[in-house]
Amino acid sequence: MTATAMEPNRLAAARDDRVATRPLPARLISRPEVGSLVGAIVIFLLFMAVAEPFRNVANVGTILYGASTIGIMAVPVALLMVGGEFDLSTGVAVTTSGLAASLFAWNFGLNVWVGVLLALALSLAIGAFNGWLLLKTGLPSFLVTLGTFFILQGVNLGVTRMLTGNVASSTISDMDGFDSAKEIFGSEVTLGPVNLKVTVLYWVILTSIAAYLLLRTQLGNWIFAVGGDADAARAVGVPVRATKIGLFMAVGFCAWLSGMHLLFQFNTVQSGEGVGKEFIFIIAAVIGGCLLTGGYGSVVGASIGALIFGMTQLGINYAGWNPDWFRAFLGLMLLLATIVNLYVKRKADLR
């Protein structure tokens, strides 16, 4: 045999002195959530300056409540976007879950917990269906979930009218199990002057778990991989199908959690509710640094995006501005955030 030297160790290469280790600030600024953090601080300062009630500490609870209802969905939507897909059916899926629990329990006169569990199964199934159909057909998630969006929207209205003759589910506050379910999904605690809804707790827990999952576990590695390059991920042994379907089911789970809050907070669910919310969740994730093309993003960023929403929604109110401007403001935020993220990312990669 020709080649005989068999000691690659000896080839220990000289250190490449062209690449300096990147300084800590450069590494910090290359985190995907940086843009959203800057945005959140700017908006916070803005409303602190112009809106007197914004400075009242008692309103923290209200602001956080608004942020949490968006954040609970923005977190799984961000995971899904990092995994390379997105879901347009999330807004109406929340309504579907609330309606399913309510109508099922009411129609058959059962304990509401039966309805709650059925709604959970249904929400997970909707998520799994989205993922399965997507992988089966190879269609882009835009088309598949646009289909589910319309189907769910129609079913919400149709089934509610069929069963109640109304556009909202009947109130279930006098049924068995309602009080205990309300404890879980719609309670609140008072800390000094601040009233905190239980959704804030769920939001914080979900954000922590998802952030840990994404950055510190094998599953997180797989989520980045299936979003970044699904073929490469499959070739090195990542179960791409299971990961993607799992992500859609996580979205389903959070839609259920949101739906249950909706139901037990207001006793009844409007069947037309939720349309348009899906974009708010996606925008929160994008503001938080998620790339629409997948493979890059942050859960913490998405939660900061949700916080920006919460602050803006109420800030505009508190400042006495006309709430008509809210949407225009959102669009502007989205564009700014995307541009800032792009700019920061380029800068950081070059450094």
């Binding site: 080649a3 220990a12 290469a13 490449d16 590695n221 991989a225 390059d229 070739a235 890059y296």
Partner: protein, 291 residues
Amino acid sequence: MTTAIIGSKPATDHPEPPPLLQLDNVGKSYGNVHALRGVTLNVRQGEVTCVLGDNGAGKSTLIGIISGLHDYTEGAMQLDGQPCRFASPRVAQSSGIATVYQNLALVPLMSVWRNFFLGNEIRKGLLRTLDIKRMKRICDEELRRMGIVIPDLDRPVASLSGGQRQCIAIARAIHFGAKVIILDEPTAALGVKQSGVVLRYILRARDAGLGVIFITHNPQHAYLVGDHFVILKLGQVALDARRAELTLARLTTEMAGGQELEELSAELRGETGQRDGSDTRTGARSEQEEG
């Protein structure tokens, strides 16, 4: 096609161990494209099997079957004497087959160490947290052994050079390969030094008792390390010979199409003689003709 010596293996003095991996008349169609037809191949332990062939000959399709990337449509495959059909690359990997794909299978936006351990992450503790420190250390060691140093393993793979990326893919396969290592044109993007390292690695893996499948366009590289040579042509085995039966010159000729090449060179010589006797390049000549 010239002397295809299919199956004419000389009987050796000592009884050969059964092949590690055995393909028997394996075929694969993409719709109506028969990318691979009746391929029979034996990969033995402690041997380097070189697969050579033109572009589109079916080499990547062949290794795709072995690495579980796609299913075969005809024939049978055996690993360690057991019939096998890998449902996914994950199954093939857990059977001890590691692959360096031609397209490298790296995720561009992910960091070097995350790519290195993708699908084989090291975890620790009750929460099964990623052992990032350990993974970075191993990744750094393996890359240094290949002669490349990447100071910041947190850099996304997209920011590295083509050769560095290829080294990551190779180091990864070498690190995780347990029984069979497949390298699909691993030296395509490499410099002389790194190519040398890769060839040494191939021999080292062979000496460690692995079966190595080495796919290349370069007969010199193949002849340096190969024990056994298979040439694919239009999805079929055109030559299957052991090292003792071949010389480098013969291998090169076979690879270039054997008799076809001789015919071609005779034809070209005749043609240039008829034209103007000089050996200008075709492009230059056509320009002259137009002018």
